[in-house]
Symmetry: C2
Subunit: 411 residues, 2 copies
């Protein structure tokens, strides 16, 4: 008998039929003998609907009130799921984040968990019941309702799994696991049986849609075993662990991300402190700078390029224009039509040929590389947005990711 | 400077435009120098939508989960109203029933208030802010969310006005006050400036749609001054008080109610205890019996008629059929096409001519009276449902309710 924390996302509880399917799923888990705690997100597009309502009544949208409003989505879902379980003869209680013991700081819209006191959840389990917890929410020291931000239900599930000493935290999604690349782009994309925390973190940071990065970091910190799997299938999904990757793959996955733009500041003075001045100004303006590349200096000046979220380009442009003279730059240009293509793999640090193969593959396909950035387990290239999918496709083929690791050619 | 608790119903916060109008209203109250606490219902048809969702996922619908689900409606509304206020430069905080200090019993879907501890509301007021409270909800001794039932926001407002020692509790509705009868039926219906608690209670019990009876009882118990008025007008509405009615009207209003059916049990043995047996059985089956009339006994048996909500007729029929032999009855029949027409007035107890005038008026209009029931300040007649509106109309005219009390003819 295992104790499992199972998180169901918005799609999995998107309508009454789906909610009843979740309840059927729990019936099967209980028949197998498992103890189950559920964590649920808001139904379908409910969070978007609530945000739209807020936009219609307010431009200031105070954080405290936004959190009171938005957490209602998860609360509604947990009550409905609990009802559906009771209907199947399973005693169940719903819990808000506050009732479930999630104590947070007072930073609204992006609250951090300070402590989890799962007394009521444990008591519910001890009575043989199934607790259903509203995700992404807690209560602050000021006794106000707080929201963890979008994707926060994953964080709720991981933190609760840790607090309860659960055997695993299962993140149910609408896909069967983590893939070697986006299956909508490359039909040969292969579901991985296992992936390391580091690899998954690099993937979520480079365009892989799930699970939420913060929850993966938390799971790694606390050693919570994560299982990313499909809501309505018994087929195992992808396990995320610290354990050595049994597949021993050099490359695990290819990702792409079109959410960023590129900004280039030209003719920057090549003297110490200039880059610091530029990125301090951008940080003060809350611009999330990602990749940074500085070209080789020529004649005492240089170009600095960086990527940033599309929606932050107006802020970044204004910020840079304000200090353009101070840093001795000649101007800045932004480019919205870029994509980042990344190769992820814990084995690449001991295989220097990986980068060369990646660049050759893109070159052969006629795809120009505009920026390059690397980490120990990732190589990212900025390419034209229009060429992103074909870049993913040729890389997936070149590294034979459609095959299990053991069957791949040596690099 | 007055301290006012203002309750806004579902229609008044039904969409973003209405919510902004409520905020504008509060701006005007504050300019006038008043301190304001708002209590809000769920937006428009939201409670119905939530009930429908519950129906779609569950037949058992446990009370605890239903309350968790339904109270989300008021919670959403209070966050949105608070945001709209902040947008107008008014510092405001939203509060759930629990945060507002409403401690209740553990009877879900129909929780009773045990105590109100308005510490956070008072603190918010003391800081010059406007608290906005989600209506009809509290927290039980078991730390579970509880719901007061439909119309419970009026109760929240009255209880809070009492706990805060407010100068008045204003119930904002979509009509300008309490009328001498339904203005949709009789165009000459007149808004009353004042009405007594007893009269209003009789009106709400006989088809007047608002305010909720429980809140009126609570206001009478605690001596809270109630003001029923229109949300978007400075014209005073109707004051509800214990004070002597300045208008000194004999008759205040005519109401009608088509929500009930009539059931007649025929040939009941005319011996002691039979009626008790019948109504105990109905009470045990949770049938809400209203008017009861027993005809004069003839030949050792009698007919007993009573009214009950339409939707309870199947239950009542089954209950009566089960004891028909025991009580020596010959059978029962139900009649769904009845209406109750009531005349309300604190002055009628000292004016014996009122009943006679009522019966004559109906008779002259060719309207047959099927049942009669009276209280100290009310006379109700059951008539054919199809004749209800014309009964209201002729009675309203006969008692000259379209005129202020001082201008009416003597009865």
């Amino acid at each position: 008998m295992a104790l499992l924390v199972q998180k169901f996302g918005g799609t999995s509880v998107g309508d009454p039929d789906r909610i009843r399917e979740v309840a059927d799923h729990v019936v099967r888990c209980r028949k197998r003998g498992d103890q189950v705690v559920l964590v649920v997100s808001a139904m379908g597009k409910e969070t978007d609907d609530l945000l739209r309502l807020a936009d219609q009544v307010s431009t200031t949208k105070p954080g405290r009130e936004m959190d009171m409003l938005i957490t209602g989505g998860e609360r509604k879902a947990c009550a409905l799921v609990s009802m559906a379980l009771n209907d199947r003869g399973i005693d169940s209680d719903s819990f808000t984040g506050s009732q479930a013991g999630f104590i947070t700081d007072t930073i609204h819209r992006n609250a951090k968990i300070l402590d989890v006191r799962p007394g009521r959840i444990q008591a519910s389990l001890d009575e043989g019941r199934v607790p259903v917890v509203g995700g992404s929410q807690g209560v602050s020291a000021d006794r106000d309702v707080t929201f963890f931000g979008r994707g926060g239900s994953d964080t709720t599930a991981v933190a609760l799994a840790h607090a309860l000493g659960a055997d695993a935290c299962e993140l149910y999604t609408d896909v069967p696991g983590v893939f070697t690349t986006d299956p909508r782009v490359v039909s040969e994309a292969r579901k991985m049986d296992q992936i390391s925390f580091d690899e998954l973190l690099e993937m979520t940071a480079t365009g892989c849609p799930k699970p939420a990065m913060r929850s993966v970091e938390l799971a790694r910190t606390f050693g919570v075993r994560l299982h990313v799997r499909s809501a309505f299938s018994w087929v195992p999904g992808t396990w995320v662990t610290e354990e050595e990757n049994m597949e021993s793959a050099i490359i695990s996955a290819v990702t792409h991300d079109t959410s960023e733009a590129k900004m280039t500041v030209s003719g920057v003075s090549d003297r110490p402190g200039v880059a610091a001045q530029l990125f301090r100004a951008l940080a003060d303006a809350d611009v999330n700078v990602d990749m940074i590349v500085q070209n080789v200096s020529a004649k005492g000046s240089t170009d600095i390029s960086f990527t940033l979220p599309h929606e932050q380009t107006p802020t970044a442009t204004a910020t840079v224009e304000a200090i353009v003279e101070e840093i001795g730059a000649t101007g800045s240009i932004t480019d919205d039509e870029i994509a980042r293509v990344s190769l992820i793999g814990a084995g690449m640090q001991t295989n220097p040929g990986v980068a060369a193969t990646m660049f050759e593959t893109l070159s052969t396909a006629g795809i120009n590389i505009e920026m390059i950035s690397t980490s120990a387990i990732r190589i990212s290239c900025v390419v034209r947005e229009a060429e992103a999918e074909s870049a993913v496709s040729v890389l997936h083929g070149a590294f034979e990711l459609h095959k299990p690791a053991a069957e791949r050619s040596d690099l």
